[in-house]
């Protein structure tokens, strides 16, 4: 009995092991998400012969996980993907000017309150359906309710259908940032088929069907997103600039790999898996020597110190002025990016490149580096050692944390008691929404296209609720002619430097390396437009 | 020496290299085992009898622990000069050994049959199936009931006595000429002890196999051995036929040992005599005769120079004592 017993146990174990092992590994390869477009054939038709020796597949590294591919909800890295799948009525050219994309043209009524958008005809969705006004209206009304900045700008006015190819937007009062709002990259005002929009739950659409040059193929959570060329994409025939203009597709497949570890991304670039990668200061010298690699600087996020205007201390403007007085922006920026040519000083809350909205107003409050004045202001305000909580996170590349601890040092230097509250990203979001959990938050912000979209100017972010600020902000969006805009903009920025909802610290650059065999890659504020990109073998 | 000599150990010295320097548990031992003869080796524990036995098969680790001197003549070969390969062909084939504790001397994870087959296939070119059959025969030979079933069982399923029979079966696998039994019955209770000794005597008679029986039990020696060697502190102090030694022990140590054996007709009131003191440690060997510190008759001569092992004129017994002849008289006088 004994020997038989031993053999039976052994064979049972082996069978069990293989069963577990077998079933787990083979279903590892089937696509997880639905979303392969029903209309167009799954795999693209027989790939037509590459023009000359062009490669058909491009792999592109992403630095963070992609929580959603719904364009209306997409922020930071998932925008890299959604920008190439979806399009909006308008798109930014390289100077952040809104340029017609899905809309052929638009008329603005005399009183500047009613926009009429004329849609291009014969534009196809990835599922073969032609884009019509009903799709635009359904998409944009959903976009409006989901996005904070859109609600602040449009209030409760609605998009309505005039006819199959005309959409109208009636506003309560004139606003000059509508086109920018429709072009802005984050929470993009993308157009999706009506039935897809209506089927979407609160957690976003489930079918990723747009009108862009690439169509969605497969999304393997936390691993990769696979896009393929959309063969009957109707391109605008304007010259390509920024995210707008002509879009020709030379690639068959684009695979966005999710590689959170920066050292791994860089090593994969060196090993040839990727031909484009973001660089850290440390990787720089290793690529500068390579002949086939070009390194360039692209404008990244700007850094602002946001006050919690409901906190005991910083509800009093004197304390805000004291902090503004002590900040030494060079030291903070150097501490954040560790290299002088990766930042620049800039007193305005907008980038100089965005000519219409750039202003120098109030710049004398910028980068004061005046500890004595700060100490004096603190005394006047009656500071006696209350603890200031600095809220930050080490995630998102660590820059938030780097800037915060230099600010901490500068505050401690003038006798301010500080406490560092470092949490993970999810907790940060929660705490920042809670008025009595923090005092100061130093953050990096993706530069919006108009001041009205600046997060820290509206109540949900740092609790700014000042009548004058709101009034100036509204006046700015109502201004129509360039002169009116300039005057209103100067007034708003001047007042911002007095009210100090936030203190501008400076702009940062990020560096990237591109191999010479990858040509035609254009980025806007760091976000890549993969149309017109060629990759030789 | 009636029987023709099978094993002759001459001036064997076994050295152990320990933390506290070199010691020699076997310090110049000479003894013989004749063909078909059962020789007993007795002495208190720590006197080197087991070390001598294991030195015959060179079981100590010669790389890190032990080294040998002298000669172990077996037939024409000196076992101390054999290469490891040659030595292996002797062990279990020509000379086998059984040990004291049957519980831990068998491999717990192999069946009884496999452990016998292993010896068979080591020394004989024999098929697996045939070896298994032979193993069952060997188990029957050593008196184990239902040998077929037992062969498939594991050591922990057998009793102490049964396991010792298995050890003997393993030892007999290749009909060795000499069986060294290192205290085979010490760990067994009396009734089983008798059966094992009877088995050994029976095998000695039927197979003509010589036996070197190591024990500290004089009763066992009396019952089974024809000749006996008494060892003390790594040396032979007396050796001769069982009849002579039991009737007229010459060496004071032997006398002391004999007297400390309780007798059935013994006087129960008197305290049982014991040899005073205990065996000194190996690195504190007294000068002169090693037994002197515990010997009632020791004089200056004994304490200064060491007597040689020599035959006492008029007897067949060899003894290592300056006053061997006279001691019997002194004893009688008391």
């Amino acid at each position: 009995m004994n020997k038989f017993y031993r053999h039976s146990v052994l064979s049972l174990l082996i069978v069990a092991l293989f069963a577990v092992y077998g079933c787990s590994s083979d279903n590892g390869s089937n696509g997880a998400a639905s979303g392969t477009s029903s209309g167009a054939s799954g795999a693209s038709q027989a790939a037509e012969p590459a023009a000359d020796n062009l490669a058909t597949e491009l792999r592109f590294p992403l630095a963070q996980q992609v929580p959603t591919l719904d364009p209306h909800l997409a922020l930071n890295t998932n925008v890299y993907v959604t920008l190439n799948i979806f399009e909006g009525l308008f798109a930014f050219d390289e100077n952040f000017n809104p340029v017609p994309m899905l809309a052929e043209s638009y008329d603005l009524s005399e009183d500047g309150k009613t926009y009429t958008f004329h849609l291009r005809q014969g534009v196809k969705f990835h599922n073969g359906k032609e884009m019509k006004a009903e799709d635009v209206v359904a998409s944009l009304n959903r976009w409006k309710t989901l996005t904070g900045r859109a609600q602040a700008s449009l209030g409760d006015s609605e998009f309505t259908i005039k006819d199959d190819y005309t959409v109208e937007l009636a506003l309560a009062e004139p606003r000059n940032d509508i086109l920018s709002q429709l072009s802005h990259v984050l929470n993009n005002a993308a157009i999706l088929p009506k039935e897809v929009v209506e089927a979407a739950g609160a957690d976003g659409v489930t079918e990723y069907i747009g009108t862009g040059p690439f169509k969605f193929v497969e999304w393997k959570q936390d691993q990769y997103v696979h896009l393929a060329k959309f063969d009957d994409y109707r391109s605008v025939d304007a010259a390509p600039s920024g995210l707008s203009g002509k879009k020709e597709v030379f690639l068959q497949d684009v695979i966005f790999d999710i590689v959170p570890d920066s050292a791994t991304r860089f090593a994969s670039f060196l090993a040839g898996t990727y031909d484009y990668v973001d660089l850290t200061l440390d990787n720089l010298p290793q690529v500068q020597g390579l002949s086939d690699v070009t390194v360039d600087k692209i404008l990244g996020s700007d850094i602002n110190l946001v006050f919690n205007k409901k906190s005991p201390l910083f509800s009093n403007v004197k304390y805000r002025e004291a902090v503004a007085a002590v900040l030494d922006d060079d030291e903070i920026l150097l501490g954040t990016v560790s290299s002088p040519d990766l930042y620049r000083l800039n007193p305005s809350y907008m980038y100089p490149e965005n000519t219409t909205w750039y202003s120098e107003a109030g710049q004398d409050n910028y980068n004061q580096k005046n500890p004595d004045k700060a100490k004096q202001l603190l005394q006047e305000a009656g500071y006696n050692g209350e603890e200031v909580t600095l809220l930050t996170t080490k995630e998102l590349g660590g820059s938030f944390y780097n800037a915060t601890i230099v600010v901490q040092k500068e505050l401690e230097a003038i006798g301010v008691k500080t406490k560092l509250d470092i949490t993970d990203f999810a907790t940060l979001l929660k705490k920042r929404a809670d008025p009595n959990a923090w005092d100061i938050y130093v953050g990096l912000f993706t530069m919006p296209s108009t001041p009205s979209q600046l997060l820290y100017l509206n109540p949900t972010y740092g609790f700014a609720d000042d009548a004058k600020l709101a009034e100036l902000n509204k006046a700015l969006t109502a201004a129509v002619t360039p002169e009116e805009i300039k005057a209103a903009n100067d007034a708003l920025q001047q007042y911002e430097w007095e009210y100090l909802a936030a203190v501008k610290i400076g702009d940062t650059y990020s560096q990237r390396a591109t191999r010479s065999k990858l040509t035609g890659l254009v980025t806007l504020a760091g976000y890549p437009n993969l149309a017109n990109v060629k990759l030789s073998k | 020496m009636t029987a023709e000599p099978l094993l002759q150990i001459r001036e064997l010295k076994t050295y152990f290299h320990t933390e506290r320097g070199r010691v020699s548990p076997v310090d110049g031992v000479s003894l013989e085992v004749g063909k078909g003869e059962i020789v007993g080796i007795v002495g208190e524990s720590g006197c080197g009898k087991s070390a001598t036995a294991q030195s015959v098969l060179r079981l100590f680790d010669e790389k890190r622990l032990a080294s040998y001197e002298g000669e172990i003549r077996y037939g024409e070969r000196d076992l101390l000069r054999l290469t490891p390969k040659q030595m292996r062909s002797v062990r279990g084939n020509e000379i086998s050994m059984i040990f004291q504790d049957p519980l831990s001397s068998l491999n717990p994870v192999h069946t009884i049959g496999d452990q016998i087959v292993e010896t068979l296939r080591l020394h004989q070119s024999i098929g697996r199936r045939e070896a298994a059959k032979k193993a069952v025969e060997l188990l029957r030979l050593t008196g184990i009931p239902a040998p077929e079933r037992r062969a498939r069982e594991y050591p922990h399923q057998l009793s102490g006595g049964m396991r010792q029979r298995v050890m003997i079966a393993i030892a007999l696998a290749c009909q060795p000429q000499l069986l060294i039994a290192d205290e085979p019955t010490t760990a067994l209770d009396v009734t089983i002890q008798a059966q094992i000794l009877e088995l050994i005597q029976d095998l000695n008679r039927r197979l003509g196999m010589s036996v070197m029986l190591i024990t500290h039990d004089l009763g066992v020696v009396a019952e089974t051995c024809s000749r006996v060697v008494v060892m003390y502190l790594g040396q032979v102090v007396e050796s001769g036929s069982v009849r002579d030694l039991f009737r007229k022990p010459l060496h004071p140590y032997t006398i002391g040992l004999m007297r400390s054996v309780p007798r059935l007709d013994g006087d129960r009131q008197r305290e049982l005599p014991a040899v005073p003191g205990s065996v000194p440690p190996l690195h504190q060997i007294p000068s002169g005769c090693r037994f002197a510190p515990r010997c009632p008759y020791a004089d200056d001569k004994c304490r200064s120079s060491q007597p040689e092992l020599a035959a006492l004129p008029g007897t067949d017994t060899q003894v290592r004592c300056w006053h061997a002849g006279r001691i019997a008289g002194w004893e009688a006088a008391q």
């Binding site: 017993y5 092992y21 997880a32 | 079981l59 292996r88 050890m167």
Partner: protein, 314 residues
């Protein structure tokens, strides 16, 4: 024997139940919620609230747990907001990489540790023994993730033999599958090899002192026979225990290596899910890892019975 297995599996139910309660409490304690993470800081509070409502996060904790345990008992571990699939499917998908990595790492560990341990035990004090002490100290002292930094530099960047990171399932061909796993498995395997080698050595040294080794020697068994047939066969018990334990930790604890080599295994799934507060997946991973661990221990116990006849499965 089947009864024994059934009893052991049933015994895990209370453990899993206790674990699920602990995880739910921890989830309740951690601030931040999946809705905010999914919608990002640009979204308006109303939309975040709507999503929380849809996910049932506003229900009292007890009711949430009741709903979860109700589903769990019928085998439905709920759906994941971020993974866009059922938790069970997500677990199955991430099991493959973890299992492959764990098996390969354990294989490397055994292939290195067994011969090294055996030689060190049989040649005590000589070169092999010293090498083992050195290697085992190296293995324990240098953490896997530090080791991986250098192996990637050498094999992937310099020599370009192996890909830097990523994962290909077995169905993409054995060699491609292995190519992606060699470096991470090496980083994990070497540490486990160090631990295992020490146990092999010490357990064999213990067995060498047993008297049946002397019997074997007296039977004329050669060195090889003694080491492998007699000593090694009796050392399997402690060795199996350590192999079981290390296989368990490889399943649960490879998160750092998985994130460095970007392997979509259980560790990475857990870290991502915790960071984005994907509650149902956290719960699923913890329970699965615990169950896998119990399974590994059960297999080890069964192997005990095979390896050592004295072990009875009561």
């Amino acid at each position: 024997m089947a009864f024994y297995i059934a009893r052991r599996l049933l015994a895990t139910i209370p453990v899993l139940f206790v674990l699920s309660v602990i995880v739910f409490l921890i989830i309740y304690l951690i601030p931040g919620d999946p809705a905010a993470v999914m919608l990002g800081d640009g979204a308006s509070p109303e939309t975040i609230e709507a999503l929380r409502e849809q996910m049932g996060l506003n229900l009292p904790l007890l009711q949430q747990y009741g709903r979860w345990i109700g589903h769990a008992l019928q085998g439905n571990l709920g759906d994941s907001l971020f993974m866009r699939q059922s938790v069970r499917a997500a677990l199955a998908e991430h099991l493959g990489p973890t299992l492959s990595l764990a098996v390969l790492a354990e294989l490397i560990a055994v292939v290195i540790a067994l011969p090294l341990g055996i030689r060190a035990a049989s040649r005590r004090g000589e070169a092999a023994d010293k090498a083992l002490t050195g290697f085992s100290l190296f293995g324990i002292t240098v953490p896997g993730f530090v080791l991986s930094m250098f192996t990637v530099l050498l094999f992937s960047v310099q020599l370009k033999w192996l890909p830097v990171s990523g994962y290909k399932p077995l169905s993409a061909g054995l060699w491609t599958h292995l190519q992606y796993l060699i470096l991470p498995a090496l980083s994990l395997g070497i540490v486990q090899a160090a631990l295992l080698a020490r146990v092999v050595r010490s357990s064999m040294l213990d067995v060498l002192n047993e008297s049946f080794v002397k019997t074997a020697l007296a039977k004329g068994v050669g060195e090889r026979g003694i080491v492998y047939r007699h000593v090694l066969h009796n050392s399997w018990l402690p060795i199996l225990t350590v192999v079981g334990g290390s296989f368990g930790t490889l399943i649960a604890g490879a998160a750092v290596i998985e994130s460095i080599f970007n392997i979509p295994g259980m560790g990475q799934l857990l870290v991502n899910s915790v960071q984005r507060r994907d509650y149902s997946v956290i719960q699923g991973v913890v329970l699965f890892v615990a169950f896998a661990y119990v399974l590994v221990n059960l297999v080890v116990d069964l192997l005990y019975a095979i390896v050592d006849p004295r072990v009875r499965l009561q």
